[in-house]
Symmetry: C2
Subunit: 234 residues, 2 copies
């Protein structure tokens, strides 16, 4: 017979956003054991009474911390072992979420978390130590994000409803950590018919005004047929 088991099962969303020309993720500070006082991902246990499925558990976590819904949310991977939590066997399902520049988001402290903050990421991931194996979970989500940005249109989900091609270029450059040709983005997004012109322009300083666009289908991700290749070698 199979022995009875008891596995703590949680969902950990890695919530990405871009501001100040940097990629940030949302962290919360734990105020319960284990790792009391440590910063961690804003995850939590699946609630069998409340959650219908895993995706709705992830959506609920996102809503609890940021009060946002309808963001881009994607499952990254599932990590579980006997050793990652000192209390015993545990599993976590890692998601990543993309939200536009947070302005009026109410960062809500909830049970188990006393503080909430945006932490910038550098090219190698997160710079500060976190509870459990959360540095590694973030690394996994970051790699998935970088990879997807280079062959899909997900990056647009980090922008507000209306944006210019320069906004799009900046987002790509920040995430990939390298220069991206604006021409490439033009060809990709406009050539694949993903964007709709917004009647107004954006105009800053004394330069030529830029066309504003919005995604034709806000809830879809387009897969381009090739990856962006990166700079040519000499």
């Amino acid at each position: 017979m199979t022995r009875p088991h008891s596995i703590q099962t949680s969902v950990d969303p890695v919530i990405f956003t871009v501001f100040d020309n940097k990629l940030h993720i949302l962290l919360v500070r734990r105020n319960i054991e284990p790792y009391n006082g440590c910063w961690s991902l804003p995850g939590g246990l699946i609630d069998c009474e409340e959650d219908l499925d895993i995706a709705s558990a992830a959506t609920r976590k996102l809503k609890e911390k940021t009060n946002l819904s309808g963001c881009y949310l994607e499952q990254v991977a599932t990590v579980g072992s006997a050793s990652r939590d000192p209390r015993g066997w545990s599993i976590t399902i890692v998601y990543f979420a993309l939200i536009p520049k947070p302005g009026e988001i109410t960062l809500a402290a909830t049970h188990g978390a006393s503080e909430v903050r945006w932490e910038p990421l550098n090219n190698n991931g997160i710079a500060i130590p976190l509870a459990f194996d959360h540095e590694k979970l973030i690394q996994m989500a970051l790699e998935r994000l970088r990879s997807k940005v280079s062959y899909t249109s997900v990056a647009a989900h980090l922008l507000a409803e209306a944006f210019t091609l320069l906004d799009l270029q900046n987002i790509h450059e920040i995430i990939l950590g390298r220069k991206v040709e604006k021409k490439t983005l033009m060809r990709r997004y406009i050539g694949s018919d993903l964007l709709l012109k917004v009647p107004e322009n954006r105009h800053e300083g004394r330069m030529r005004p830029a066309q504003l666009y919005q995604l034709k289908e806000r809830n879809k991700v387009h897969y381009f047929v090739r990856s962006m290749e990166g700079p040519r070698e000499e």
Copy 2:
């Protein structure tokens, strides 16, 4: 407070192999409730005493049914909800495994499964109804396999140690369900320096003998810079 929860957590490997010019997966017939008598994936609950982590639970399942180890194994996704198992909330972590043509594999009946067999897949997935949501899990694994075959070297893991370029071509065509140019595979595999010439040739009938190759690094998957594009439209 978070309410206590009890979630059944299992691992379901989708074990692929190719023979008779068809892609097959391994199924077992359940002999316990629920779905007694139905065919299903050869999965099972994670054993907290025996398994150190999720990957080792998947490896154990594979070993139990096929007696193979060291195959290519990759996590596909995690599915969980209150409704997928009539007994209540459950989660399963889906893996896919690639094994070479099964010859002398002992298909072992184990607890909960009275019979084991290879079931062919057609282009739309599995043709017979299965227990739980296993048709859908297979669909997910199949999509992942098809996608990966078109931009990585995973397909080679479905072949024996030594193979010809024609073998490689056949595998690709069977999985993708379309014609693949041999020239493309040559360019990809030889151009990326993935293959080692084996001293012997393979010789069948009265045709020119074919060079045998083996993978230089049996445990690595190469990511080609482009996807195979499929036939040109006219």
